[in-house]
């Protein structure tokens, strides 16, 4: 079972990379962007077959390693 996780920076954390990407896009002519925030995406292929149990484990992984909760939020996307 594959579970996906998206990690994003919290709203009030500075994202200089996102800002530079936005400026570059702006320079390329994509000039109606309010903001770009860069994040991380993980695909976790787990041996667990129970959807809820798998999500619970992935949540634990997010809290313990994948995200730093001082600056980041995580979002678990349903199993496929």
């Amino acid at each position: 079972m594959k579970i996906s996780v998206i990690i994003t920076l919290k709203k009030d954390v500075l994202d200089p990379q996102g800002k530079v990407i936005q400026q570059t896009l702006d320079g390329m002519g994509f000039n109606n962007i309010n903001e770009v925030r860069q994040g991380k995406y993980f695909e976790i292929d787990t041996k667990e077959n129970d959807n809820n149990k798998a999500k619970e484990k992935v949540e634990e992984m997010c809290k313990k390693l994948l995200a730093n909760l001082v600056i980041e939020n995580y979002k678990i996307i349903d199993a496929q």
Binding site: V13, L14, P16, Q17, V20, L65, N68, V70, I71
Partner: protein, 227 residues
């Protein structure tokens, strides 16, 4: 005095700190990250470098390595720990010191000498140093200190801010902030002030031919405070 320096895959300042500790009288041992226990030590140092290639977040992988359980126990029972540069990043990832280290504000790797102001001397690391401002070296890409408002209030109330970036006269203005760190913070303590995390490298300033001697002052003072 006995010290231990932990080497992680990708550490590259481990031998520099070994040289510095020995020079000022520590009996130092190098300890591999995959060992289970740190040897009997008065001081443990997490060195600079790029542990685990900075994968995921700087210091995040190293913070979960085998030896770190022993280092965390040592710190929690009052043992003295210093994390320098990547070592500081490892300390924040373990939660031993508060906050995080983000990418530098202007997205540059910064490698230069800086001045830092000693914020308080009521701790074993800086007690008895007869200077207010020290010249150290920084070399990092992720040294932009950040913490939540609640954490900031807590570390300020507990006097956990160890050093701040400043000019040679000790002025801690934004223009002397090399990397965007919150309130020019260059180093913080844990609550018990037995754990110090800092971005600057004192081990690079132990010889006049290596551009300065304020690191000598730091290590000399440290071993005297420990005796």
């Amino acid at each position: 005095m006995k010290s231990s320096v932990i080497t992680f895959p990708g550490s590259n300042c481990d031998r520099d700190i070994d040289v510095a500790l020995r020079k000022f009288g520590f009996k130092n041992k190098m300890v591999w990250h995959n060992d289970a226990e740190i040897p009997n030590s008065d001081l443990v140092v997490l060195p600079g470098g790029f542990s685990y290639g900075d994968y995921l977040r700087c210091g995040s992988m190293a913070s979960k390595s085998k030896i770190m359980k022993s280092v965390i126990n040592f710190a929690n029972s009052g043992g003295m720990v210093i994390g320098i540069c990547n070592g500081f990043q490892i300390l924040v990832e373990t939660g031993l010191v508060p906050g995080v280290l983000l990418r530098n504000k202007y997205l540059e790797f910064i490698c230069k000498n800086v001045f830092v102001k000693i914020n308080n001397k009521t701790n074993i690391f800086f007690k008895n140093i007869d200077k207010e401002v020290l010249e150290f070296h920084i070399a990092h890409n992720e040294g932009n200190y950040f913490c939540t408002e609640d954490q900031l209030k807590e570390i300020e109330d507990n006097e956990q801010v160890a050093i701040n970036y400043c000019d040679k006269n000790g002025k801690t203005e934004e223009k002397f902030n090399p990397n965007g760190s919150l309130k020019n913070i260059a180093g913080v303590f844990n609550k018990g002030k037995n754990v110090l995390g800092m971005m600057p490298h004192p081990e690079r300033m132990i010889d006049l031919s290596l551009s300065g001697e304020d690191g000598s002052l730091f290590f000399n003072n440290l071993i005297n405070n420990l005796k």
